[in-house]
Subunit: 118 residues, 2 copies
Amino acid sequence: MVQYASPRLDLTFAALSDATRRGIIDRLGQGDTSITGLADTFQMTLTGMKKHVQVLERAGLVVTRKVGRVRTCTLGQRGLAAEAAWIEAHRRLFEARFDALDAIISEMQQEGHDGSAR
Amino acid sequence: MVQYASPRLDLTFAALSDATRRGIIDRLGQGDTSITGLADTFQMTLTGMKKHVQVLERAGLVVTRKVGRVRTCTLGQRGLAAEAAWIEAHRRLFEARFDALDAIISEMQQEGHDGSAR
DNA sequence: TAAATACTGAACCATATGGTTCAGTATGCA
DNA sequence: TGCATACTGAACCATATGGTTCAGTATTTA
């Protein structure tokens, strides 16, 4: 329906929105591990962990390879460049607006309105 | 259950995982708008748009103020600094791994395994 | 060969998400 | 006053998410 969709960013940001999955990325940053290794670390069933890994895999953040009966998980080649680019580009938008908003809030506070930013 | 949780990152990354919401941020970067204005732009019911704005608001990415019958949406003061920091810190992890992975893939390809990275 | 290990898949569950419609309430304007 | 506008809230719907259990299959290893 909408064209500005970016399935890639949808998948990566969704993957990063879960603390366990961010933890998996941290862990894989120290070295590759199996599904079992991850399941132990995060105190979760194998099946549950496999689902998390699949989410990360679909997002391209993790790559897995099965050798024998062990599936080894590695950080994906694709990295976080696209996400970093989006965030950086938009960070500036926020900063630009901040000055303007700041001025509005000061003004409102002087007028005695409820302009208290928490 | 897990301690490494960061509700803040959970909320912001989840908010950013939807193309419509990323579009709303783009749009607000050009200037404040009402819920109606956003609903028109993104061809959605008012109620639907309100939900998206609420998601962005809970994540601290958008601030709204109701004046009269119009609720005006603005980019939040908090910005994307925390998200940028997380991404940047982890980008290095991926890059570090990339060299190692690259070596493994080359090795595998020489061995004739299915090491084809798309 | 038999047992243990490592994963896989199906089924289930509760809750969240992304949308809708419909029925309000509050505000602005003629 | 009275209509149009702008939002709000409840209810509903289909699908996704984050987890589980249970019953496999495939691989090691003793």
